[in-house]
Symmetry: C2
């Protein structure tokens, strides 16, 4: 994996660059649509490519349970299995285990858990997470981390930091000893933990930065803490993280969160928000959130967002899409997902353009001023 920074905003830490993997070139800042179970829900790869999506995220935990790593390996890897020939980043499974599964026991060895699907028992270790991600053949492998709930006491967060350091070392060691099954290299990103505590974040970053050869991620944010705490931690970590590598803020977030994070030098994002909210009828627009099921759109023969040029906005009215939700027709979910992904893609495109023009600090101030008054943005 290569990363080059092509433009820096002179009035903020925002920068624009390019990640190059075996499968695609990815302009940053980038938002990665989430294809949890080897599919971006409702969307086929042909559409994603037509919408200039160059990288998606998929989930080790889910794919390990269904359809299993052996099957995907037999299929020739995740790219071949789902017919996606741009890049894939895979989460390590850590976050999902702590948020979805029934936890039985956590030790230095790994996490004993029961599947949220059938209650079957498993042990996910750093080594197994790496082996699964080797089998999937993702372009970017995430380290196996311990992501604790934000409500835990400082001592527990500290233990999670310690364990994340151990697991990151074990992950890196496994990858060094077990090369890629495929024709391409797989980059490895450690994940910094430490909650909202600057000393723990410093401890985590100090331990993990030496293991970061390609890029690094900030985990354990957007899990219930205050927004101001989140941005404080992102800013604080800049002291410790290499400026020359892409910085990935995991699981974030709302459009305004993305813009504020870009101001602090973040390069990569993923979140289920645009796709999940689309399926709930919540659409991101230049005028704020449109709740498409609202009765006021019954006779609204305008597009979701007249300034958007996605397939849904160019071809359908709010009235029609509302009708599709009303009759529970999945085409409505698809059109809404297409639109929300376009909103995020356009937003990143705009951010890159403003950074290139050295206007990001000014533009983002206007954007944030407008959008902070719109609930949900």
């Amino acid at each position: 994996m290569k990363f080059s920074i092509n433009y820096n905003d002179s009035k903020s830490l925002a920068r624009s660059g390019k990640i190059t993997t075996f499968h695609s070139e990815i302009e940053t800042p980038v938002f990665m649509p989430v294809g949890t179970q080897a599919a971006v829900k409702t969307i086929d790869p042909a559409y994603l490519k037509s919408a200039n999506v160059n990288i998606i995220l998929s989930n080790t935990y889910h794919l390990y349970l269904r359809p299993g790593m052996e099957l995907i390996k037999k299929a020739g890897g995740l790219h071949a299995f789902m017919n996606w020939d741009n890049s894939i980043l895979t989460d390590s499974g850590g976050f999902q285990i702590f948020s979805l599964a029934k936890l039985n026991h956590i030790s230095d060895e790994g996490v004993e858990f029961q599947s949220h699907l059938d209650g079957s028992k498993h042990l996910l270790s750093p080594e197994l997470s790496m082996e699964i991600q080797r089998s999937l053949g993702s372009d970017i492998i995430m380290s196996f981390d311990h992501c604790p709930p934000s409500i835990l006491d400082k001592k527990s967060i500290d233990q999670a930091v310690e364990r994340t350091s151990l697991w990151t070392n074990l992950s890196a060691k496994y990858l060094n000893e077990h090369p890629s099954y495929y024709d391409w290299d797989q980059a490895f990103f450690p994940i910094i933990q430490g909650g909202v505590y600057t000393d723990l974040r410093e401890k985590s970053a100090t331990a993990l930065v030496p293991l970061a050869k390609c890029g690094i991620a900030i985990g354990g944010l957007a899990v219930g803490e205050k927004k101001s705490s989140m941005f404080n931690i992102i800013e604080f970590l800049n002291t410790f993280i290499s400026k020359d590598q892409p910085k990935y803020l995991m699981g974030v977030g709302r459009p305004t969160d993305l813009i504020e994070s870009i101001l602090l030098g973040v390069d990569m994002f993923d979140c289920v928000l645009p796709t999940r909210n689309a399926r709930n009828g919540q659409l991101f627009t230049s005028a704020g959130i449109v709740n498409i099921e609202n009765a006021k759109y019954k006779e609204s023969f305008d597009p979701i967002d007249s300034s958007c040029s996605c397939y849904a906005c160019l071809n359908f009215t709010k009235s029609y899409i509302r009708h599709l939700f009303n009759i529970k027709e999945v085409l409505g979910l698809r059109l809404s997902t297409i639109h929300n992904l376009a909103y995020y893609s356009d937003l990143m495109n705009r951010a890159r353009k403003e950074i290139k023009n050295d206007n990001f600090a000014i533009w983002s101030k206007e954007y944030l001023k407008k959008m902070r008054s719109c609930p949900g943005m």
Copy 2:
């Protein structure tokens, strides 16, 4: 609406021609995908057009209940509402009332029924059915008919024939007195009833043929009677129906039914089978039905049908599509629907080609021989 017959098979009644409406040219024999509620489930119009679909069917009953004819009229008609600029045929609502709604009272005036959605009470009359279809702006309007269950006694079927004659006259009268709201003419097709009784079919055809200026439909078949009875009636009706107009067999059916019906001179078909079965994981292929959820396809890295060139077959394996069904991902429904619609479209394409080459009787014999041994085909 214009209709021209371009090729006749010399060894059967099969023929190939072209229907021309304001919106599109439609080569016959044609299968019309069903978009009951202003959407072909899971499929967007752009895909339908790319798959050379030139006409779809939509439903007066459903659209009357949701979103209502006034809304669609305000949207500029059904074409504009759903962004479909090829042709639309609308069913009159008769069949749906008798199969879906709670019937309260049937009289010469119309049918009093309760909505299957909310129990609200309505009276659907020939005049209202025509008014709805005028509001929808469909290219082909179906007459309001009385379609009784096949289990009814002959006397009741006779009454339905009488009532259908009355309602067809009232439908035609209404249309004559109330012109199209839009820039295009709307063709009108009467629907012949009479169950499996040749004398009642003759009575119905004799009454309705004078009202058929553009085309005519055979209703009340494929509603539970024997297959042989169905084909007997189709053949029998040829004596009474004009050869110069398109003949539409409503609600049929399986691929073998289509081929047998084409042998008897049928030009137009519609059925929910390809789309509904797709959503149930039943896929039509050149080797018979593939039940995609079957465990034997878990590691099947071939397409659904290697002789098919639809988007699903060119890009995805049975293993992957099975996985999508397994995780209940609607992309699986979409890919399956794309495939099944392609099977029907390819079958009609092949039929037209064989008719053109005066080889349909021979080709269809082979096709029927092979496919009759495949359950569900």
